[in-house]
Amino acid sequence: MRTTFESMGTVVSLEAPAVSHPLVRRVFETAEARFSLFRPDSELSRVAAGELPLTRAGSQLRDTYARAVLWRERTDGAFTPNRPDGVIDLNGIVKAEAVEAAGAALTAAGWHHWSINAGGDILVADAGHDGAPHLIALADPADASATLCAITLAGPRRAVATSGSAQRGDHIWRGGSRTPAAFVQVSVVADDIVTADVLATAIVASGRDTLDAVCDRWDVDVFTVDRDGAMLATPGLRAALAA
């Protein structure tokens, strides 16, 4: 049973048994209430405004911040939880974390056939021995009404995230750089959605060097589209292209 709902400024598409829908909505509502910088009363807004010291914030906010800082170190700063003005901005990770938490809740409740797509970041249930592989389309950055290709998610590969400037302009902080990003769209396929999302953001932010570093260090598959429409793909991504 498919449903959609708005959260975090985008739309979440959920394919899961109807009885499980409130469970997933609750996960997203909780995350939004805690992390949205668009809500003055959110916990993170109070931290950003200086009303609440980070050290006194709730453990979940601190855990998420610590996780974001860890990713900053892993990506040599390509991914960062701080805006240029110093304000903590966890938007780069909270949506993926919400998807991850929602998926974990569905699995814990005993559901084994589902998919969650939060504004283009997708996590699917572990297909298991009898489940059919999930087919995911990658968007065409030049045409919102088209897709580029279909890829298969199978085995441990359960997550795909895409970052880019196609939908909302250059919204990714790139260390004050004014030059256009090398890639207009980057998709990362990984075993977990936070890794996929963070690395896709890092590659868009930092370009080719970060792309190579990511491919060397992480067990992920990557697909990129540059300004001229030229495409790059890792061997695993090519293998995942739908036949």
């Binding site: 708005e6 394919e15 283009g120 792309l211 990557v222 090519r238 292209l241």
Partner: protein
């Protein structure tokens, strides 16, 4: 023997690279400590060859246990800790004779999904035709840059959702 030595030093270099890279970039928590398992001479001098690339310590605390390989020259065998890489786990043993590496044995090489044979995971150019040829009528979701709630209305994802597929 010469070929073996050459091969050994190449393997050692790879081992050191893997170990250094692992220690420097990821957080798997495995530190590599060279453990001398045998020593016929007094002080073991070759430790820096294997352990030097990463953390120190530990090598002096382990007690020599294994059999000496040669009584004439100073020979020591060092067994590296098992290191997890993204291709699986790797463990290397290095034999040092008179201060130089005389042999390197891979005690454990990865066979995780056969990925050890995959040398590069880097992204390479792919033809647009090849990409566009990969289509399926049964896609369930679209991955793209995050859309606003307004942009969603005209997206392919919205069409899929309305179809209830």
């Amino acid at each position: 023997m010469r070929t073996r030595t050459l091969l050994g030093s190449i393997l050692a270099s790879i081992g050191v690279l893997v170990v250094g890279w692992q220690a420097g970039t990821t957080v798997l928590g495995t530190t590599t400590v060279a453990t001398p398992s045998s020593s016929t001479g007094g002080a073991t001098t070759g430790g820096s060859t294997t352990g030097g690339s990463t953390t120190s310590g530990g090598s002096s605390t382990s007690s020599p246990a294994a059999t000496p390989t040669s009584a004439a020259s100073q020979t020591a065998t060092y067994t590296g800790t098992e290191v997890n890489t993204r291709f699986g786990s790797v463990q290397v043993q290095v034999t040092v004779t008179d201060g130089t590496i005389s042999d390197v044995t891979a005690l454990k090489l990865t066979d995780h999904d056969g990925k050890s044979v995959q040398i590069s995971n880097r992204a390479a150019p792919v033809l647009r035709e090849e990409v566009l040829a990969a289509q399926s009528a049964s896609v369930s979701n679209v991955s793209g840059a995050t859309y606003t709630t307004q942009a969603y209305l005209t997206s392919v994802q919205s069409a899929l959702d309305q179809a209830g597929l």
